[in-house]
Symmetry: C2
Subunit: 155 residues, 2 copies
């Protein structure tokens, strides 16, 4: 069953290239063995660099389930998730992920997945996109307000 | 100038909590010293676990510039980007990032940023959300099609 859903994700990726819809990636999300989202990469079509197949599928599945989390759902993706999609998978609280190609395969095809993984352990200021912390007096005020808020929706 | 834009991002984060719009995060993107996006976290409001302030700002800035990349743009964010947002920053090819709070501050406030960073170096199958590679015969076919496609839009 898992191979079948993963094969579908790879088929979506092939179709994405053949139709010119976007990059060579596809993703499927299932719940209780039923497909609830099947998406492809839409970065160039939607002018949205976050529109990777996995992110598209997470957004679509959340719309379907009317929830901002996807507990008990499984993601099948044609390629090992990049760091952005990996983060999205944790925030969505998916149960499990199956993938076909590796980040090295993606790198060989000209994509930055492996490069971004290599940037993560670097000190933020030393990354190729420098990430610099500035000291503001009230930097943590948003978290204090959040802590004190009685009617917040945790996520 | 950088402190001013960062202060604005923190102010957006405060406002997000006070109005109940979403989580305690704000982000601003500038180009040539002009603000082109100013967004807050919308995870619970939009039922989209990827709707972090930085992702919202990247998508908004891309719409404004009618592009899927943000070269020569700077991101100011109330908190160090989580791995998802870090990935999005690389895919958007932003020039530089300034942040106020750290991932440890986010963790202390109950958010998973630091936890997700700790998961990344683990072997995919050993993560708390297991990520399992299955061997499919034609796993890399999408990348082959992409390689051979004459009229593709690289991104």
């Amino acid at each position: 069953m898992h191979e079948q859903f993963l094969q579908l994700a790879v088929g979506l990726a092939n179709n994405s290239v053949n139709t010119g819809e976007g990059g060579p990636y596809g993703a499927v999300i299932t719940k209780d063995g039923e497909i609830i989202a099947a998406c492809t990469n839409k970065v160039t079509r939607r002018l949205d660099p976050t529109a990777h197949a996995e992110v598209m599928a997470i957004r679509e599945a959340c719309r379907k389930l009317n929830d901002f989390q996807l507990q008990a759902c499984t993601l099948y993706t044609s390629c090992e998730p990049c760091p952005m999609c990996l983060g999205a998978i944790y925030w969505a609280r998916l149960e499990r992920v199956y993938f076909a190609c590796s980040r090295q395969d993606a790198a060989a095809a000209g994509f930055d997945d492996s490069f971004i993984y290599d940037e993560i352990p670097l000190a933020p200021a030393e990354r190729s996109i420098p990430m610099l912390r500035l000291n503001l007096d009230d930097a943590c005020k948003p978290f204090e307000l959040w802590h004190d808020k009685a009617d917040k929706i945790p996520y």
